[in-house]
């Protein structure tokens, strides 16, 4: 059952990635990227990394991709043909990678994947989201707070650099 899901996610991720670079309309590219992000999140769920899956959807699909779409729509890029005449380059890179993979498998041989024993992160019967939250607010409280300061600096800094009138004194 797990394998079925893995192959489903892996296939969709690969197909969507190809679509991202192959379709000509940037909007379709972005949507294909969105599909890929969702399936990567699905892959994380099969690995029992629920927190990572949620972050993947919230941050990548929710924030970064929406930003992409905004830019694409604001710039009104209907079609950009500049990057669609790169088949020779793509073939060369792809061929190199295939040769590398063949050599590596020939050297190491096919081995069955090693299934790690007992590494599931369930601390005291809680899920991994709770476990992460737990260490974040206990062991790593200090770095967490410093990171919040960094966000504060970034936020105010962006305002300072971008705002039109900050009330600078006009005369001496």
């Amino acid at each position: 059952m797990e394998q079925v899901f893995f192959f489903y996610f892996a296939f969709v991720i690969a197909a969507a990635s190809v679509l991202v670079v192959a379709v000509r309309n940037p909007i379709y590219s972005a949507v294909a990227l969105l599909i890929m992000f969702f399936h990567v999140a699905g892959l994380y769920v099969t690995l029992h990394a629920e927190f990572l899956a949620a972050v993947q959807i919230i941050v990548y699909a929710g924030a970064i991709l929406v930003l992409y779409l905004f830019v694409v729509m604001l710039l009104n890029l209907r079609q950009d043909d500049r990057y669609h005449r790169q088949w020779p380059m793509a073939a060369a890179v792809g061929l190199t990678l295939v040769i590398e993979a063949v050599i590596l498998t020939a050297m190491k041989g096919w081995t069955t994947p090693v299934i790690a024993a007992g590494t599931e992160t369930t601390v005291g019967g809680t899920g991994n989201t709770e476990a992460i939250g737990d260490v974040l607010y206990s062991t790593y409280l200090f770095p967490f707070e410093v990171a919040s300061l960094i966000l504060l600096v970034a936020m105010i800094g962006a305002i300072i650099l971008a705002k039109k009138d900050l009330g600078e004194p006009t005369e001496l």
Binding site: T139, Y140, V153, A154, I156, L161, E168
Partner: protein
């Protein structure tokens, strides 16, 4: 709250600085423009409070305290740098006051960001974990990116800010990559655990070497060592002069402090490998920094290359494992660079530009300013009886003891170059005739007092270096430094 009571108490200076920074940011909108001086004085007051607090800690019980599950350590080493950073930041704020008014960028946010950058530096110098050190570095850097672009009406300032940001983000990425490899190797980002893991894995592990190189590159950028120095001249020139002073002095000191802690406490087991790496870097830094400085006509660019060159001398101290010499050199460097920038802030303000020729005949216009600049320059060059001379003396002494004759030879030759370009400014001030329409440069009593104190400190430390050498020689400090000897 009660859980972290003692931890918070240990971090009281950091808390005071952060709270003051937030207070300044919050008070700024309700402070009328004419009374923004109060925000500067509030910041200076907080710094004085922290200075007293840390000074009291040093005098009462200078022991190593770990806080927040060993992510932060407050030891004699951290306290030494914190004291220095408070002092330097205080002087910078005092110098900024008239400068910001003249440049018409007197905004409360400036002081808030200076204090936030300072809190990042404090986290850096007392980080016992790569995670904390990295976050401290980022807090400092991001505040500096904003401060660099603070003069928003000048394209040069914004360009410097963008350049600094892009290159800085890139170097942070490299540093993080190194840290992640170390984490993968040791299973922890704590410096102590990394040292243990290096002990068990042996020093010739290729993974370790790659990680060391990446971390060295990341720090090399912050220290402005060649070949990671490209950003320095442009950023130093573009940033508001008071911010340049802050970068050249405080950011450099904090980066060196964190850098030495990481490489001694964490990667001390690889000393044989990284000392060769830094040997090469220091030679290139010395040669390039000093030679390119000769042809500069803008004094801020010249001071940028001079700051690169001084990073080279400091790296000689790192290569020869002499902690006290590095600490003394840094203190001397802070004092004399601060003095030069103090004069530059005042003169640049009245003249509107900062070319070396603008200093022509300064001695006739404003003898005191010219004298202060003279002291700063000869100390940077390394004339005896100034702190700069003793700093170089200790560094070369350490190098000779370690039989690094080649380094000493290169060092002495580059000092010769230094004399040429530092004295070029002195020549302009004392031998060239001032332009016909020149007037004396107005100087506030506060700036005059600050400069007098800096001059006094340069001479006192130049003949009596014991306080600095002893500060790091106490039993608690020896833990870090002994590995260094």
């Amino acid at each position: 709250m009660s859980l972290y009571g003692t931890d918070l108490l240990a971090l009281l200076p950091e808390l005071i600085i952060v709270v003051t920074a937030c207070l300044v940011l919050a008070l700024d909108p309700i402070t009328p423009a004419s009374r923004r001086d109060l925000l500067a004085w509030l910041s200076v007051g907080a710094l004085a409070l922290c200075l007293g607090l840390t000074g009291w800690q040093i005098s009462v019980l200078n022991v190593r305290v770990s806080a927040f599950s060993d992510l932060v350590v407050i030891d004699a080493y951290a306290r030494f740098w914190k004291i220095l950073l408070y002092g330097v930041t205080g002087v910078i704020i005092l110098l900024s006051l008239p400068y910001l008014k003249a440049e018409r960028i007197h905004l409360g946010e400036y002081y808030g960001f200076i204090l936030l950058a300072l809190s990042g530096m404090m986290v850096m110098v007392s980080g016992a974990d790569l995670l904390t050190i990295y976050l401290g570095t980022e807090l400092m850097s991001i505040s500096l990116y904003v401060l660099t672009g603070f003069n928003r009406s000048k394209p040069r300032s914004l360009e410097a800010s963008a350049k600094y940001f892009v290159l800085g983000a890139f170097s942070s990425g490299i540093l993080l990559y190194g840290i992640s490899l170390l984490y993968g190797m040791a299973g922890s980002t704590k410096l102590a655990s990394i040292a243990v893991a290096i002990g068990t894995r042996g020093a010739d592990d290729p993974l370790l070497l790659i990680a060391t190189i990446l971390v060295a590159v990341g720090f090399g950028f912050k220290l402005a060592a060649v070949p990671f120095h490209m950003w320095t001249p442009d950023v130093y020139q573009g940033a508001p002069t008071s911010v340049t002073a802050f970068m050249a002095v405080a950011a450099k000191a904090a980066s060196f402090a964190a850098f030495i802690r990481v490489f001694v406490e964490g990667l001390g087991g690889l000393k044989a490998d990284w000392s060769l790496l830094f040997l090469l870097i220091s030679v290139v830094t010395l040669v390039l920094g000093n030679i390119v400085a000769i042809v500069q006509t803008n004094i801020k660019r010249m001071l940028a290359y001079s700051s690169i060159a001084h990073a080279g001398y400091l790296l000689i101290g790192v290569v020869t494992f002499s902690g006290a010499a590095v600490a003394y050199y840094l203190v001397a460097y802070l004092l004399m660079t601060l003095l030069c920038f103090a004069v530059l802030v005042v003169v640049g303000n009245s003249g509107g530009s900062d070319q070396i020729e603008d200093f022509a005949g300064l001695a006739k216009r404003s003898p005191f300013l010219a004298f202060a600049m003279l002291i700063g320059m000869i100390s940077l060059a390394g004339v005896p009886f100034t702190a700069g001379f003793l700093g170089k003396f200790f560094i070369f002494d350490a190098a000779i003891r370690q039989h690094q004759t080649m380094l000493v030879v290169i060092g002495v030759i580059t000092v010769g170059c230094g004399f040429y370009y530092y004295l070029k400014v002195v020549r302009a001030m004392y031998w060239l005739t001032p332009p016909a329409d020149s007037q004396p440069v107005p100087l506030s009593a506060l700036s005059r007092l600050t400069m007098t104190l800096l001059i006094a400190a340069i001479f006192v430390l130049g003949v009596y270096p014991q306080p600095i050498l002893n500060a790091l020689d106490q039993p608690a400090a020896r833990a870090t430094i002994s590995m260094f000897r």
